[in-house]
Each structure stands twice: as structure tokens, then as C-alpha cells.
């Protein structure tokens, strides 16, 4: 029964990892941008929620109503003012710029909030649980998982059923021809980054409720996000959810064997999948 519990907890944890990964997957899919600062932006979201909590006395879950649009605005501005200037045939300049952004964000957070670990207090819901037969399931992890499923379903719908999604796919296919259709690439990219960071806001707040965070916490989240994206297959959103779940389950099972193996087990499963299926388990089928 302990093992079943580990698998269940790992699956729910996978929802959080899928939220880490969805934003990465989205911007890579639309503009081939690898955002090294993604983990730090997740942590930034948690700190913004913390500040809203302190200054306005908001529960972090309520603060999401402010954090999500704030991060979306930051995303649009970041893309229009900085990242668009680096976009071109070469993938390296934006990679380096986001790496620099990562360093800057960590240091700004360090100056603003110190290195002390922080936590978002969401109240009783944090420890609430329901019993399913012999298993106890936390309400918060279930909420995170359901949010991840809803977010991914919504992104999937947006991509394939709306004019914005069509514009994203067209721009991803051929930037210059999309421009001929009257789509301003700079604006489309800005919207993609806004959407990515809106999802990041959810990930950051849920992270901050689940665990303590500090300004240097972004790196590990970036790795988990990358691993989920690559396990699932680049450009496949449902695959990203599956990748998050596989990573989460690997970690909880590893922790079950020995608490020291938690993170290592996740990395090992990632490496095995990368070795056997370099394009991930569910690669997007290109025409």
C-alpha cells in the first residue's frame, strides 16, 4: 500500500512539474526560445505573491488573481523590450540573454528579500486531506494536479481552436510568411511570453505553498521543467503532463527506496528515457 501511495503522491507532484514545464514548452514551441530564466521567473512569482500577501494581507491563492496578470505583463514587456532584440536564426543569443536574466533575477531577489527561505501560507487547505480507502490524499496536491490538467487542456484548446493559436502555429512554422499575413511577429512573441509567464505564476504560487523557497531555488525548477518537457516530447502539451507525472512518480518511488534517492531517481529515469527515446515518449508528429 505504501508503494501505491508513493505512486499516487508522485502523480500529483507531476501536476506541479507539468505547470513548471508548460510555460517552457509553450515558448519553445512558438518561438524556439529556450528560457534559462524560467525557474527564476517561477520563484519571482512566488515572491510577488509573498509581497501581495504581506502588503494586502491576501491568501496566496487569492493573490493569484493579481500575480497571474502581473507576470503576464512582465512577460509581454520582457519579450518586447529585451528578448525580441535577440531573436533570429541563431538560438544562442536569446539563450545567453536569458542566462544573464537568470543571474540578475536571483541577485535582485537576494537584495530585495535576503537569502532566508520563505513560505506562502495558504491556511488550513495546506494540510487538509481526504481519505480514499486506505490512502490519504492532500487537497492541495489534488488542486494543483487538477489545475495542471485544466491549464494544459486550455492551452491545447487555445492552440488548435482559436485565432490566437492559429497565429502562434503559423508564426512558429514560418515567421516571415506569418508577417505577410499581417501578423506582427514582435507582438505575437510578446503574447506567447505573457501566456507562458501567466502559467508560471500559477506554478510559482503552488511551489511556494508546497515548499520553502529562496532566491536560488529556480535552478532545480528549471531542470524539472526541462525534464518533463523532454520526457513528454517537445511541443506536445499532453506529453508534458505525462512527462511531469513520470518525473514525479520516479522521485517519490526513489524517495521510498531511500530518502536520499528522490532527486537522483528522477534524473536517472530522465536519462534512461533520453537514451532510449531521444525525441521523448510522445513527440509531436510534424507534417
Amino acid at each position: 500500500m505504501d508503494w501505491l501511495n508513493a505512486i499516487l503522491q508522485g502523480t500529483l507532484l507531476g501536476g506541479l512539474y507539468a505547470l513548471f514545464a508548460a510555460g517552457l514548452s509553450l515558448i519553445f514551441g512558438v518561438m524556439r526560445l529556450v528560457n534559462i530564466a524560467h525557474g527564476d521567473l517561477i520563484v519571482l512569482s512566488a515572491y510577488i505573491a509573498l509581497s501581495f500577501g504581506v502588503s494586502l494581507g491576501l491568501n496566496p491563492l487569492v493573490a493569484l488573481l493579481l500575480v497571474v496578470p502581473t507576470m503576464a505583463l512582465i512577460g509581454y514587456a520582457l519579450q518586447r523590450l529585451i528578448l525580441n532584440r535577440t531573436m533570429g536564426e541563431d538560438l544562442l543569443p536569446p539563450l545567453l540573454v536569458t542566462f544573464g536574466l537568470s543571474v540578475i533575477l536571483q541577485n535582485v531577489l537576494l537584495m530585495g528579500y535576503s537569502a532566508d527561505p520563505q513560505n506562502l501560507q495558504a491556511g488550513a487547505i495546506e494540510t487538509a486531506s481526504v481519505t480514499l480507502g486506505p490512502l490519504a490524499v492532500g487537497v492541495m496536491p489534488v488542486m494543483v494536479f487538477v489545475t495542471a490538467v485544466v491549464v494544459i487542456a486550455a492551452l491545447q484548446w487555445m492552440f488548435y481552436r482559436t485565432a490566437l493559436g492559429r497565429a502562434f502555429r503559423a508564426t512558429s512554422d514560418r515567421q516571415d510568411v506569418a508577417q505577410l499575413m499581417g501578423l506582427n511577429r514582435a507582438h505575437i512573441f510578446g503574447l506567447a511570453m505573457a501566456l507562458s509567464l501567466a502559467v508560471t505564476a500559477l506554478a510559482g504560487v503552488f511551489l511556494g505553498i508546497r515548499t520553502a523557497f529562496d532566491p536560488a531555488a529556480g535552478g532545480a525548477r528549471l531542470i524539472f521543467g526541462f525534464e518533463a518537457v523532454i520526457i513528454g516530447g517537445l511541443g506536445n502539451l499532453w506529453g508534458t503532463l505525462a512527462g511531469g507525472v513520470i518525473l514525479g512518480v520516479a522521485q517519490t518511488i526513489g524517495a521510498k527506496i531511500d530518502p536520499g534517492y528522490q532527486i537522483l531517481a528522477g534524473h536517472i529515469v530522465f536519462l534512461i528515457i533520453l537514451a532510449l527515446r531521444p525525441r521523448g515518449l510522445f513527440p509531436r508528429i510534424d507534417g
Binding site: A163, R166, A167, R169, A170, S172, D173, R174, D176, V177, A178, Q179, L180, M181, G182, L183, N184, R185, D286, G287
Partner: protein, 234 residues
Amino acid sequence: MADAILSLQALNAHYGDFQALYGVNLTVNPGEVVAVIGANGAGKTTMLRSIAGLLRNAPEAIRWKGHLIGALRADQVAALGIALVPEGRLLFPSLSVEENLVIGGQLGRKGPWSLQRVYDLFPILKERRLQQSTSLSGGQQQMVAIGRALMANPDLVLMDEISLGLAPVIIRQIYEALPGIVGEGLTAVIVEQDIAKALSVSQRVYCLQEGRVSLEGQSQTVPRDDITRAYFGV
């Protein structure tokens, strides 16, 4: 000259250090079909890409309905009513046939062209509308590329080598559709390798040679010897 809808004045174009166009002057009158012919590398495609805004120029090099558009981005040029059917078709592989057409009209300009009208012109596209655009034959893809440009309801359509790489029967089909496209006051600039085809559908013709205009004339009356000389530079 004064009533030209489009005029190029001393248009130069560069790819890095390489100069592809040297002082090209060209005018297009409303409702007219102008053919641009020339050998490979003469600068025909470069000229269309410059007009469409994919290559940026001095603002005054390209005048469209009184606007100086030489320095505008492609999306701004598109909003002013100029559409390009690019060489090689360049459909969006992630989009279905119908989505490729719909995105062509996403600026929402008013005009005679609609999805239904494109399907009437090319009925095969309606049958294939839910397929990925890359699963179509070359000729059908060319129909999508033309339909996508028409969906924008442009005032000027630029067509780059629309017969390139297609079977003769398909080329005939596409050229037979052309009068139905340019009939209603739509102005067109057509770049074409096939000189006879280009002359048959156009009122005026320009020949480019090594980035310069080497001939300008009426399509029906220009002597063939002049064309040969302008084309090959002999």
C-alpha cells in the same frame, strides 16, 4: 505616371554586401497586370520581397497609393492591401488547408473574396480542407497559396513564379483561373519564368537583368527580339 497605384523609384536592395537591385524604376496602374520576366538571379523575387516588406528599403523607394512604404514591415504593408504569393508556396505546415486560407484573411479587410469564393475557384481545396497543407500535391498547394493571398482581399497581389515546379496541365489550370482573379479591379504583378505565359496574361512587361530594368513595354506589341536581348543581355 501620375495615376500609378504603385511606383518603384530607384529601388536598391541588398543582401548583406551583395547588391541585388540597382535603381529599379517601375510603375503599376490600377487594375493592370504587369509581368516581370528575367533570368534566374535577375532580382525578380528580390523586387517582390521588397514591395511586400520582407526586405526593408528607403521609405521613398516604394510608393503605394500615395504612401511611402519602402521602410514598412511586411505586416504593415499587408494591412495597406498588398498580398504576396511567395515563390515555393511556403504554406504553414502545422495548419490545415482551411486554416491556411483563413489566416490569409485574418486582417479582416473587406472585399469580394471569402472562403466560399476561394472554394468555388478551386473546388478541390474544399474536399481537402481539413488535411494538413503539406499532404497536398504541388499544384494544390499552389492553389492554397493563391487562395491565401486572395483571402486578404488585397488591392495588389504579387505572384512569384506560380508555375514553378508544376506539371503543365496544372499550370494551365492555374492560369485559366487567373482572369477570374484579376478581373475585378485587382491589380497584379506577376513574376514568371515562362515568357509566353507571362506575356499572354499581362498588359505590360518589364524585364530585369542583373538587378536592372533592361526592357519595359506593352506585352502584346513588344518585339520578341527585344525581349531576347533584354533577357539574356546579348
